[in-house]
């Protein structure tokens, strides 16, 4: 069960006249947990759909182990894309029973682990007889997680698995994910809104903003490049000259900026009377993708 490299090059996608993905390059190295974060409408689900040949592209290429993913049996077998469940399907209630949903998954995923699925069903206390339209939002998330984990696919993608779960279940999800990863070392891509909680789980983070990849790097490396600098505005400005300023918040003459850059430079400027604080992943994300919205 060795995963290949999932790669997108020059990917472009438009819906009608609107371009949603612009010349996107992405490479997913095997054996890592990736976090895919982006605002609503950034194009996360579209990107994931195209990577898994479940959506069509306008131009560019998506390959798995060197071969295009489109109609590629090996890619389709190796990759699991566990989507958010929907209570309505094609303008009608989704009357599929959980039992049949799982049965269908078992048919398609060659590495499906039924024992694991049953254990998770038990832990999540999910009734297989219920229809998807009868499930609560939390239960739908649990089914998404169950499918992803029990698929044992070498490359497993989860779209918003934590949405709808309460904080206790979310923590349990991160635990399950890490346990599975420790055991199998398979590649995970988790797309999520809930950034800071999940940050410690992601080895690498991909930031998608308005159809473009802003960042694709090791989480801690990314975060270490950012700082908040605050103090009197003229001092702050002096200290931060030469650094990339991402956002500014000012109250009277007190100014706080989010900066990115060479921290050695910043350290030497610390003789000045300013406060320097680290930023966490969520702070970094908001400063990169907030586009000047209120801090």
């Amino acid at each position: 069960m060795s995963a290949g490299i999932l790669k997108a090059e020059g990917l472009c996608k438009s819906y009608k006249d609107k371009e949603v993905l612009h010349n996107l390059d992405l490479e997913i190295e095997p054996g890592k947990i990736y976090g895919l974060i982006g605002r609503n409408g950034a194009g996360k689900t579209t990107l994931l759909g195209i990577l898994t040949a479940q959506n069509t592209k306008n131009s560019g290429s998506v390959t798995y182990d060197g071969q295009p993913v489109w109609e590629n049996q090996r890619a389709l077998d190796d990759i699991c894309f566990s989507r958010e469940l929907q209570p309505t399907l094609f303008s009608g209630p989704n009357n599929l029973k959980v039992k049949h949903y799982l049965k269908s998954a078992a048919i398609y995923y060659p590495n499906w682990d039924m024992d694991y699925a049953l254990r998770l069903l038990d832990e999540f206390q999910l009734s297989t007889k219920k229809k998807i339209s009868q499930l609560s939002k939390g239960q739908m998330s649990m089914v998404t997680i169950l499918i992803a984990l029990a698929s044992r696919a070498p490359v497993t993608i989860l779209d918003e698995p934590a949405a709808g779960l309460d904080v206790v279940m979310r923590e349990r999800f991160y635990q399950l994910l890490l346990e599975d990863f420790a055991q199998t070392g398979r590649t995970f891509i988790v797309s999520t809104h809930i950034i800071e909680e999940a940050a410690s789980v992601f080895e690498r983070v991909i930031i998608l903003d308005e159809g473009r990849i802003l960042e694709n790097r090791e989480t801690e490396e990314l975060v270490s490049q950012f700082r908040y600098v605050s103090g009197r505005e003229d001092v702050v400005d002096r200290v931060c000259s030469g650094l990339q300023v991402l956002s500014t918040h000012q109250m009277g003459r007190h100014k706080t900026v989010a900066v990115r850059g060479d921290m050695v430079k910043l350290e030497s400027a610390l003789e000045a009377d300013v406060d320097v604080a680290p930023m966490n992943l969520q702070n970094v994300f908001v400063s990169l993708c907030g586009h000047g919205d209120a801090q």
């Binding site: 759909g49 898994t52 479940q54 069509t56 894309f81 989507r83 094609f90 269908s104 398609y108």
Partner: protein, 231 residues
């Protein structure tokens, strides 16, 4: 392809099981209301028995709705190959046709086999004796049209509804015509009167048109599956 076939089979069992169950209920109901003995009784069960082939066809139409919509969406979301899904779909349709054909043949033969006193009552069931290929063809057509209707429904709801109504009317009309042409002395009348001789070819023409429509529908299905975007 095997995976997609097994996947679709899970749904097919349930649907066909419903048909068979319904047939069983109708037969039991006929016995319970004394239909086999008397030609006079015209109750619900008698009607359903008479209409059964038509009912099978309409059920196939309804079952086919899901094949290219929710089933396709689900299969692709689990990583089904599109080409494989198309051929598995053909296999499932063949399965549906076989089981439906068997069911219809069973119902036709049952009164004789079960030794009913009054057996020669339902013209509709006799209809297919002359042309055994007709029922499977109708099944295929209803299946394909059901698939296509479902597909169009999701994209253009208004157009979809319009198409459904039209196809239902046309199919009903064609069916009625075929029934009449066998049932009444229509056929003989046509042969006698040269004025109407062109009508003799009509059943064959209709059959030809239906077959062509089915083929066209298959093309639409293939294309749609290739370009489908999973939700």
């Amino acid at each position: 392809m095997v995976k997609s076939f097994r996947f679709l089979l899970n749904f097919a069992w349930i649907n066909l099981g419903a048909d068979i169950g319904f047939a069983a209920i109708v037969i039991v109901g006929c016995y319970a209301t004394g239909v086999p003995e008397s030609a006079e009784i015209g109750n619900l069960f008698e009607t359903y028995y008479a209409m059964f082939p038509i009912m099978i066809l309409f059920m196939l139409y309804i079952y086919a709705f899901a094949l290219c919509t929710s089933n396709l969406n689900l299969g692709l979301s689990f990583g089904a190959r599109r080409g494989d899904f198309f051929w598995a779909l053909q296999g499932i349709m063949a399965f549906y046709i076989l089981v439906s054909w068997a069911l219809q043949a069973f119902l036709c033969a049952f009164p004789a086999v079960a030794d009913w006193e009054v057996r020669d009552r339902w013209m509709l069931l006799r209809l297919f004796d002359d042309r055994p290929w007709l029922f499977p063809l109708c099944c295929a057509v209803f299946l394909v049209l059901g698939c296509v209707s479902g597909l169009i429904m999701i994209k253009y709801k208004g157009l979809g509804v319009f198409l459904i109504v039209i196809s239902v009317l046309v199919l009903m009309g064609a069916t009625v015509f075929l029934v009449l042409s066998a049932e009444t002395r229509f056929a003989e009348v046509i042969q006698e009167d040269a004025q109407w001789s062109w009508l003799a070819a009509l059943p064959k023409v209709i059959a030809g048109v239906l077959a062509a429509a089915a083929a066209g529908g298959e093309l639409v299905i293939w294309r749609t599956i290739q370009r489908f975007v999973v939700r």
